[in-house]
Symmetry: C2
Subunit: 244 residues, 2 copies
C-alpha cells in the first residue's frame, strides 16, 4: 500500500508537471503572437506616420519571434518525448506546432509590409484604400485566434474564420480602387502597386489567423473543418468569377 501511494503521488506529480509545461507553452505562443501583432502595427506606422524609426522595432521583434519559433518547436518535441501523450494531449501539442508555424509566417508578412512601407514613405503620399481597416481586422483576427486557442473557445474561433471573408472583400476593394486610380493617373502606378502588395500581405495574415482558428476547432471538436466548405463561412472552391 505504501508503494502504491508513493507511485500514485509520483504519477500525479508527472501529470501536474505536464500540465504546467502545457501552460508555459500556451503562454509562450501568446507572447509570440503579441509580438507579431505589434509588428503589424509598427510596419503600418512606417507607412502612415512616415516614420522610418519603426523599421528597427520591426527588425528587433522579428528576431525575437524567430528565436521563439525555434524554441517552441523544440519544446513541443521534448514534451512528446518526455510524456508520450495520447489523444487530446497529443493533439494539443501537434496544434501548438502548427500554430507556431502560422505565427512565424504572420511575422514574415509584417516584415514584408515594413519593407514595402519603407520604400513607399520616401515617395509622395497616396490613397491607402482599405489598408487602415484591414490592419484592424488582421490584428483582431491574430489576437482572437490565439485567445481562442488559449481558452479552447470554439465560438471565438468560428468568429475569426468568419472575419476572413471581410478581409478578402476589403482586399478586393483595395485592388479595384487602386486599379481605377492607376488608370486615371499614371504617376501613381508604382505607389499604387505597392499598396496592393501590402493589402495582399494583410489578407495573408488573416489567412494565417484563420488557419489557427480552424486548428482550434479541430482540437476541441476533433473534427477537421479545414477542407469542408459546408462547415466554413466561406467556400474554398474556385469561383467562376475571378477574385483576388
Amino acid at each position: 500500500v505504501g508503494f502504491q501511494i508513493i507511485y500514485n503521488k509520483k504519477l500525479m506529480a508527472i501529470k501536474r508537471r505536464f500540465d504546467e509545461n502545457l501552460d508555459e507553452l500556451r503562454g509562450t505562443l501568446l507572447q509570440m503572437g503579441g509580438l507579431t501583432e505589434e509588428m503589424i502595427v509598427f510596419a503600418v506606422k512606417i507607412l502612415v506616420q512616415r516614420d522610418e524609426s519603426f523599421v528597427d522595432k520591426v527588425r528587433a521583434h522579428e528576431n525575437r519571434v524567430n528565436d521563439l519559433h525555434v524554441e517552441i518547436d523544440d519544446r513541443c518535441l521534448r514534451l512528446i518525448e518526455l510524456h508520450q501523450p495520447v489523444a487530446r494531449d497529443l493533439r494539443l501539442i501537434a496544434t501548438a506546432l502548427k500554430i507556431n508555424a502560422d505565427i512565424e509566417r504572420i511575422g514574415d508578412q509584417a516584415t514584408s509590409i515594413a519593407r514595402t512601407s519603407t520604400h513607399l514613405c520616401r515617395m509622395p503620399r497616396i490613397e491607402l484604400g482599405n489598408i487602415p481597416r484591414m490592419v484592424e481586422v488582421a490584428r483582431a483576427m491574430v489576437k482572437d485566434s490565439l485567445d481562442a486557442f488559449a481558452r479552447q473557445d470554439v465560438k471565438l474561433a468560428r468568429s475569426v474564420i468568419a472575419c476572413d471573408d471581410e478581409q478578402d472583400r476589403l482586399n478586393r476593394g483595395t485592388f479595384k480602387e487602386l486599379l481605377r486610380l492607376m488608370q486615371t493617373d499614371a504617376s501613381v502606378i508604382e505607389r499604387a502597386m505597392e499598396i496592393i502588395l501590402i493589402s495582399r500581405n494583410l489578407e495573408r495574415i488573416a489567412d494565417h489567423a484563420s488557419n489557427i482558428a480552424e486548428d482550434v476547432v479541430f482540437l476541441v471538436l476533433g473534427k477537421d473543418i479545414r477542407h469542408h466548405a459546408e462547415d466554413r463561412s466561406s467556400t474554398q472552391a474556385l469561383p467562376q468569377q475571378a477574385g483576388r
Copy 2:
C-alpha cells in the same frame, strides 16, 4: 529464454511495422507533392494556352490534395500514439507534419494562380515577364525539396534553399518589367497587375519549397538553420533597399 526470444521477435515486428508506416507516410507525401506540381503546370496552362478546361483539373487535384492533407496529419498523430517514437524518429514525424502543411499551401497558391489566369485568359494577351522561367524554378524546387526529404539528402536540400534567391530575383524582375509597361501603356494596367500577382504566387511556392528543404536539413543534421542567416544562402534581414 523462450519468452525472451518471443519478446524480441515481437519488438522487431513492431519496429518493422513502424518503419513500413514511415515509408508509406513518405510515399503519400511525395504523391501529394506530385499533385501540387501538376496543379502549378495546369494553372499556368490556363494562362499560356488560354485553355480554361484546365480549371477543372486544378480543382480535382485540389480536392485530392486537401483529402491527403487531412489524412497525413491523422496518420502522423496515430504513429506517435502507437509507437511513442523519440529522438530522430519523432523528429521525422514532426517534419512530416510541417511538410504536409507546406505542400497544402503550395496547392493553395496554384489554385490562386488558376483563378487569376482564368480572368486573364479572357482578355487580350500580355507580356508574361519571367513567369515561364519562374514556373520551372517553382516546380523543380517543389520536386527537389520532397526528394531531399525522401532520401534525407542534405546536399539536395541546400541546393533548393539556394534556388530561392533566383526566384526572388525573377519576381523582382517581373515587377520592374511590368511596372515599366504599365507606365507607358495604361491599357495593360489591369492585366499587368494580375501577372504581378501570379509572379508573387510563384515566389511563395518557392518559399514553401525552401521551408521544406530547411526542415530536411534540420531533420538530418539536427541543426536549426531556419533563422540563422549565416547558414543560409540568403539573409532574412530587412534590406535598406526596398524589394518585394
